[in-house]
């Protein structure tokens, strides 16, 4: 008997906003904190918490710096982050296919 697709969902990644952060970060070399905040419609505190969870899991790398006097935080995805995103997308597609067949 094949495993149900939900078994492949990762608790760290399977959250709408974290999936959004990983999706955007995987599409670019690096993305700025303010871009993620406005695109995902999150508060700074909320976004920081999601980023911290993903960084702790080794899925994102954070780069802090300054541009002039303004602090800037850049986020980039790691190889493990790309793999986790790909696995999550595959699990979601499998789930969708299973629902479609039911």
């Amino acid at each position: 008997m094949t495993e149900h697709p939900t078994a492949a969902l990762d608790d760290v990644v399977h959250q709408r906003h974290r999936l959004g952060i990983l999706t955007i970060a995987a599409e670019v070399k690096r993305v700025e904190f303010a871009y993620l905040k406005s695109t995902l419609g999150l508060t700074a505190g909320n976004l920081s918490r999601h980023i911290a969870v993903l960084e702790e899991a080794g899925l994102l790398v954070i780069e802090k710096g300054y541009e002039g006097k303004r602090p800037k935080t850049w986020v980039s995805v790691t190889a493990a982050g790309r793999q986790a995103l790909a696995a999550e997308m595959a699990a979601l597609r499998a789930l969708l296919e299973r629902h479609g067949r039911a």
């Binding site: 709408r16 690096r30 695109t39 997308m89």
Partner: protein, 278 residues
């Protein structure tokens, strides 16, 4: 929150598209290379008395990299044009990298330019040294006569191996240059007498280098419009390099004007399309 997997996948696809659209900035390199091509026009004038200074034709001219940066016709300023293009191509690559970094600071998403730099510099080395060298080696040391069929089979094998190199997940700093080397050798087979496609080795190699850079930009930008412009430009380069332009009204510079117009119009079109989608 989108609870349905289908809705969630659609939402993520929308985010990916938005990030992709926001990071697109290829109109600048298109316009820049178009302007650099236009500026080369005064140096691209054909010599009305070509027999006055026939300098090519010695045994080693094929391996002189500057020869490939001229045009096919005898010219008034051959060395000036070759040196201009050598500098212009390097400036073009550096300015493109600077542009993407500057844009990233303004928009908040950065396009990866590492692959572009690798391919652009390798492409320049390939058209100036690699393709002429491998063409000479194939012509002089091949064990059997390279007919069109032989060339097609060898090319398919080399491009297949190159594809495997590009798709390698490990040791990429080793495999990507190896893949580019295989592509370079494969392209040199087009120069064989039976195939007879000029990639710019008789002059005009600078446009082949630009075409290679554009194809790479289209790949890293994942843009359909940029891909279309790259294909149109590459086709124009092959036409200009393989048709005689000596008798055009601009004294051989008509081909250069066509290529410059393609780049400038492509850049302006990309700029308008980008503004319309944002």
């Amino acid at each position: 929150m989108a609870s349905d997997p289908g809705e969630l996948l659609d939402e993520l696809a929308g985010l990916r598209k938005r990030a992709r659209d926001d990071r697109h900035g290829y109109w600048f390199p298109l316009l820049l290379m178009g302007v650099l091509t236009l500026v080369s026009l005064p140096l691209s004038q054909a010599d009305p008395n070509p027999t006055d200074h026939l300098v090519d034709g010695g045994p080693g001219w094929w391996m002189n990299p500057l020869v490939h940066l001229r045009l096919k016709t005898e010219m008034v300023h051959p060395l000036g044009l070759a040196l201009y293009w050598l500098v212009a191509l390097l400036v073009g690559v550096l300015a493109t990298v600077w542009w993407y970094r500057w844009r990233a600071r303004r928009v908040g998403v950065e396009t990866p330019t590492g692959t572009y730099v690798q391919v652009a510099l390798f492409g320049l080395v390939a058209v100036l040294f690699g393709i002429p060298l491998s063409t000479s080696v194939i012509l002089h040391y091949t064990l059997f006569y390279p007919t069109i069929l032989v060339a097609a089979v060898v090319m398919a094998v080399l491009l297949g191996l190159a594809l495997l190199c590009f798709r390698a997940r490990r040791w990429r700093p080793l495999f990507v240059p190896l893949g580019l080397l295989l592509v370079s050798v494969a392209l040199s087979l087009l120069q064989l007498p039976d195939v007879d496609v000029d990639l710019g080795m008789a002059g005009g190699a600078q446009f082949m280098a630009i075409a290679l850079g554009l194809v790479t930009l289209a790949w890293i930008e994942r843009s359909v419009l940029c891909s279309v412009i790259a294909v149109v430009f590459t086709t124009c380069v092959l036409i200009v390099n393989n048709l005689s332009m000596e008798n055009d009204a601009l004294g051989g510079a008509g081909g250069v004007l066509l290529l410059a117009a393609t780049l400038v119009l492509g850049g302006l079109g990309a700029l308008v399309a980008g503004r319309a989608s944002s």
